[in-house]
């Protein structure tokens, strides 16, 4: 009965690749839609022509596509990708399906670093991301230290720690906003609520390599993460180098969170909603979940940002408003479900 041993029933590289390709196709479609949508009229024909090279670079449609919408869409994609990836990793390491960079206070810790940098007039190209990264690392350290006694066993400790840290950093951020009076105030406020409109290609070039390398390294931890979700001691029994994997992944996630927050501000709930949908659709195996949730996160945030800039057109909403609007009810539903299991169906 050799059919019993068929690898058809389990995850294979071919499965991971084919599902990832399908989701990439969906991503392309969404990017196409996002390019058409907006205050100014751009047709699908013009989009094709622009990418085909048959649209003159001085036409307004070309300018709208390449100078305004595309960089913003790419930034939204990268930010959504990273937030969702961060959510997946946090959830695995803390063994808590409700963990997410925003809820755990890592985003606000990171924002605190960034606000401090803006307050002291540091550059958006180096100072802000660096401080933002430092803020992220510091917060993760705090969350783990305070919540670590019961990690995974009692998820409320971790969530409470996140709430406390969030409140604390929000207070400090408010303080700095209150004492800023000049042009910096506007920069801070606008940026804080999740602003993707300031995207430039130079920024994208700066963050893309970090995000690509980070996601490759994190993907190589996928099997270890699968086992870590079943308990740290359990994982050690099966031969996982738990401490090493944990520290490295948290550091890498802090790095990309720091970058993302520096360039996009506070955008919540992406890291909660998308990984959860991914798990419901494709199961808990991180070898599939990491690519699916990351690319899914890109799709999600591009859609959210498209809504943000079109729903009250010609005015815009910060994208953080849209994600929170959808995310908060979602979070409540998950919280109510907490007592039961986190199954596929």
């Amino acid at each position: 009965m050799s059919y019993e041993y068929s690898t058809k029933k389990i995850l294979t590289p071919a499965k991971v690749i084919s599902i990832s390709i399908i989701i990439c196709i969906a991503l392309t479609v969404v990017i196409g839609i996002a390019l058409i949508m907006g205050t100014a009229n751009v047709s699908l024909k013009q989009v094709f022509a622009a990418f085909w090279g048959t649209l003159a670079p001085d036409e307004s449609a070309w300018l709208i596509i390449f100078k305004i919408r595309l960089p913003r869409i790419i930034l939204a994609g990268l930010v959504g990708f990273s937030l969702s990836l961060g959510g997946v990793i946090f959830q695995a390491i803390l063994r808590n399906p409700l963990a997410d960079p925003f809820i755990l206070g890592v985003s606000s810790g990171s924002a605190f670093g960034a606000v401090l940098a803006i307050f002291f007039g540091l550059s958006f190209n180096l100072g802000v991301p660096l401080m933002s990264f430092a803020g992220a690392v510091f917060t993760i350290y705090l969350v783990i230290m305070i919540g670590s006694r019961n990690i995974g066993v009692e998820s409320s400790t971790i969530l409470l720690t996140g709430v406390i840290i969030n409140a604390f950093f929000t207070a400090i951020i408010m303080f700095f906003i209150s004492v800023s009076t000049d042009a910096r105030l506007h920069t801070m406020l606008y940026w804080l609520y999740g602003d993707l409109s300031q995207s430039e290609y130079s920024q994208l070039l700066f963050i893309t390599p970090f995000i690509i390398i980070s996601s490759i390294v994190l993907f190589s931890f996928a099997k270890d993460l699968n086992i870590i979700t079943t308990g740290e001691e359990n994982a050690a029994q099966l031969g996982v180098e738990v401490e090493k994997i944990k520290k490295l992944s948290l550091l890498i996630v802090s790095l990309i969170m720091g970058l993302v927050v520096a360039f996009s501000g506070l955008i919540g709930f992406v890291g909660l909603i998308v990984p959860h949908l991914g798990r419901m659709a494709f199961g808990s195996d991180h070898r599939l979940l990491i690519p699916v949730a990351s690319i899914g996160g890109a799709i999600f945030l591009i859609l959210a940002d498209t809504i943000a800039r079109t729903v009250i057109s010609p005015n815009e909403l910060p994208v953080g408003v849209i994600t929170a609007f959808m995310g908060a009810p979602f979070f409540i539903i998950l919280l109510k479900k907490r007592g039961s299991q986190w199954t596929r169906s």
């Binding site: 399906p97 359990n234 031969g239």
Partner: protein, 254 residues
């Protein structure tokens, strides 16, 4: 596996002291002792999860020091007392996790791993559970799936921490019969911690009795399960007689 003069302390006080013990191939060793006597600590030391401050562990004539976690996991498998699965995995996926120490970082499970996983499921009579989520299984079914996972590690030694504590009579018997047949047919060495003294007396080849972190007595079940020993170690008066069918010692609470 050889343990030589092992001493371990969590903080100041020694949880285990001067432990010498040998686990032979194909042997079932039962570890007895009251709560807090160091049984689970001993099991964790045998699995390399805790590094003893004193003494050394020899696995197949080589010292275990400096052995990588994955190398250790290919020699010794553990079935823990409790397993908390936060996320849903199918029984087959759980058993395939046992293949982790044999796979390279980016390697996926292949045909051979599937075969091993299926044979492990078959050996523990859980093949029909393969596709079901671990969350939907009963305690007895779960325990068997975890034993299957331990088998998939292809270890020489399996350690079990109170494998029957949450199980009813039928499953208790089933688990012990399974352990017996594994040691008999596959030549596996088994060390298990349990409070089911009667079952341990019935199925184990040799027993170790721990009291306050030291070995109080060691030997065959007949020599260890005696009223004075039990009364002294467990601080509980008992009457020991023989099981009329097997002739193994049996305890009766007074």
């Amino acid at each position: 596996m050889n343990l030589k003069n092992i001493g371990y302390r969590y903080e100041k006080e020694w949880a285990l002291k001067g432990i010498d013990l040998t686990l032979k191939a194909g042997e079932i060793l039962g570890i007895l002792g009251p709560n807090g006597s160091g049984k689970s600590t001993l099991l964790k030391i045998m699995d390399g999860l805790l590094i003893p401050q004193e003494g050394e562990i020899i696995i197949r004539k080589r010292p275990s020091q400096g052995l990588r976690r994955s190398a250790f996991a290919r020699e010794v498998a553990m079935v823990a007392q409790e397993n908390h699965f936060r996320f849903s995995f199918s029984s087959l996926e759980v058993v395939l996790m046992g293949r982790f120490p044999h796979l390279k970082r980016l390697q996926f499970e292949g045909q051979k791993d599937m075969e091993i996983a299926y044979n492990s499921l078959k050996a523990t009579h859980t093949l029909d559970l393969a596709g079901r989520s671990i969350h939907d299984l009963s305690e007895g079914e779960k325990q068997r799936v975890f034993i299957a996972r331990a088998l998939a590690q292809e270890p020489k030694i399996i350690l079990l921490d109170e494998p029957t504590s949450f199980l009813d009579l039928k499953f208790k018997r089933e688990i012990f019969r399974l352990i017996s047949s594994l040691s008999r047919e596959n030549g596996l060495s088994v060390a298990l911690v349990s409070h089911d003294i009667d079952l341990v007396a019935h199925y184990c080849h040799r027993l170790i009795m721990l009291k306050k972190g030291v070995i109080y007595a060691t030997g065959e079940p007949d020599e260890i399960i005696t009223a004075p020993n039990i009364e002294d170690v467990y601080e509980c008066p008992v009457l020991v007689d023989k099981n009329p069918l097997s002739g193994r010692p049996r305890i009766n609470m007074i």
